[in-house]
């Protein structure tokens, strides 16, 4: 697989949300507004790329038997680093994302990429894979959170865009709305990708 393909893989064919459907917990919970979705995406790109680099560097030193605990330690360390850095330098975003930053630790995308890619490939490829998967995740988060914010709140990134007469569909920013929106979006993505193939 060449480098461009590795990158595109994460955005399209193996998109973490639309295709692999991993890491749903944070995805469903956090996508109530565009800013939250985007911020979470950026945090995931940072943790994913960082842990991919370290795991791929250490892949010959980590014995197979203990690779999962080793991954978890490395991922937890990176998540804590991002948590501290955001708390110190991007405070408003930190306040908005709150409890979801520590939860990146248990986001399956990161462990999945460590296990299925970084542990078997070189550093450069792992960085590209981390960025590709992260960008794919962020795109999906942005689309999902935009749909929910527009329909559920009548705004986009906090700016009113729909006429006063529009009565926001409260359910879209509540938990059931995230399942509805995600289901419809996955359906749409599947429909479009199948039509392209045919």
């Amino acid at each position: 697989m060449n480098k461009l393909e590795i990158f595109k893989n994460g955005i399209g064919k193996e998109n973490p949300i639309f295709a692999q459907q991993v890491g749903m917990c944070a995805t469903l919970a956090i996508t109530t507004s565009l800013l939250n979705g985007f911020g979470m995406g950026i945090a995931v790109i940072a943790v994913l790329t960082g842990s991919n680099i370290v795991i791929s560097l250490l892949r010959k030193l980590i014995p197979d038997e203990v690779r999962i605990p080793a991954f978890v330690i490395i991922i937890a360390a990176f998540t804590t680093i991002i948590d501290l850095l955001m708390h110190a330098y991007t405070f408003p975003l930190y306040q908005a994302l709150g409890v979801f930053i520590p939860l990146i630790v248990v986001n399956c995308i990161i462990l999945a990429r460590a296990e299925s890619f970084a542990f078997k490939n070189g550093v450069v490829d792992s960085i590209i894979d981390g960025l590709g998967m992260g960008v794919g995740y962020t795109i999906a988060m942005v689309v999902l959170s935009s749909v929910r914010e527009i329909l559920g709140n009548g705004t986009i990134a906090g700016i009113n865009i729909l006429p006063e007469a529009y009565e926001p569909m409260m359910i879209m920013v509540q938990p059931p709305g995230s399942f509805i929106a995600l289901g419809l979006l996955i359906g749409l993505v599947n429909y479009l990708s199948r039509r392209k193939k045919a």
Binding site: A29, T32, S33, N36, L58, P63, I74, A76, L84, A88
Partner: protein, 188 residues
């Protein structure tokens, strides 16, 4: 076999030690900034204007012994602050309190401003773990402005909760009522 165990444990130990070491360093590096962020967030001009319009700043309450005795009797009480205007005159009191009824993500922490006449001047949520976009709507003036100007010695019994955000609304009001009981018991 025994050697293998030592090797596995050794690798994990080294990885953990390096992780812990770098986190300790980063924690030390960011500690001051984080503390400053948390402090300025609870003392930013926006917060002060929301809690007490026209005020200049909040200063620690004069009677430290009273604060200690309220703390001993009221588990959710955090602190008292005096509201000061531009020329240093006291305008009222801020009751800093947690929520006796937890919200969706645990306790919220509120500033409840009360003026000299015993009326609510405003309030602000300074720490919470409510759901972004839902529970966080209780932190906006659209919700809490309904309490402003009300008598701070009478318990809030009826109010408009935000639809779909009942738990956070109830939690918010429980903090307001805790401020009411502290005000009527100790400050009036």
């Amino acid at each position: 076999m025994k050697n293998n165990f030592v090797r596995l444990a050794g690798v994990l130990f080294i990885i953990s030690a390096i992780s812990a070491g770098s986190l300790a360093w980063l924690n030390d590096f960011t500690k001051d900034r984080i503390e400053q962020n948390d402090l300025s967030a609870s003392m930013s001009p926006e917060v002060i204007q929301a809690v007490a319009p026209g005020a200049n700043t909040f200063v620690p309450f004069d009677d430290a012994a009273l604060v200690e005795s309220i703390k001993a009797e009221n588990a959710k009480f955090v602190d008292l602050l005096t509201i000061v205007d531009g020329s240093g005159n006291a305008m009222g009191t801020v009751v800093q309190t947690l929520t006796p009824t937890p919200g969706y993500g645990g306790d919220m922490e509120l500033y409840v401003g009360i003026d000299k006449d015993g009326k609510f001047t405003g309030m602000s949520v300074i720490a919470h773990s409510e759901t972004s976009g839902l529970g966080t709507r209780t932190t906006e003036p659209d919700f809490w402005s309904q309490f402003v100007g009300k008598d701070a010695s009478a318990e809030v019994a009826s109010y408009d909760a935000i639809s779909g955000v009942t738990k956070s609304s109830v939690s918010f009001v429980s903090a307001v009522n805790n401020a009411v009981s502290i005000y009527s018991q100790y400050l009036k």
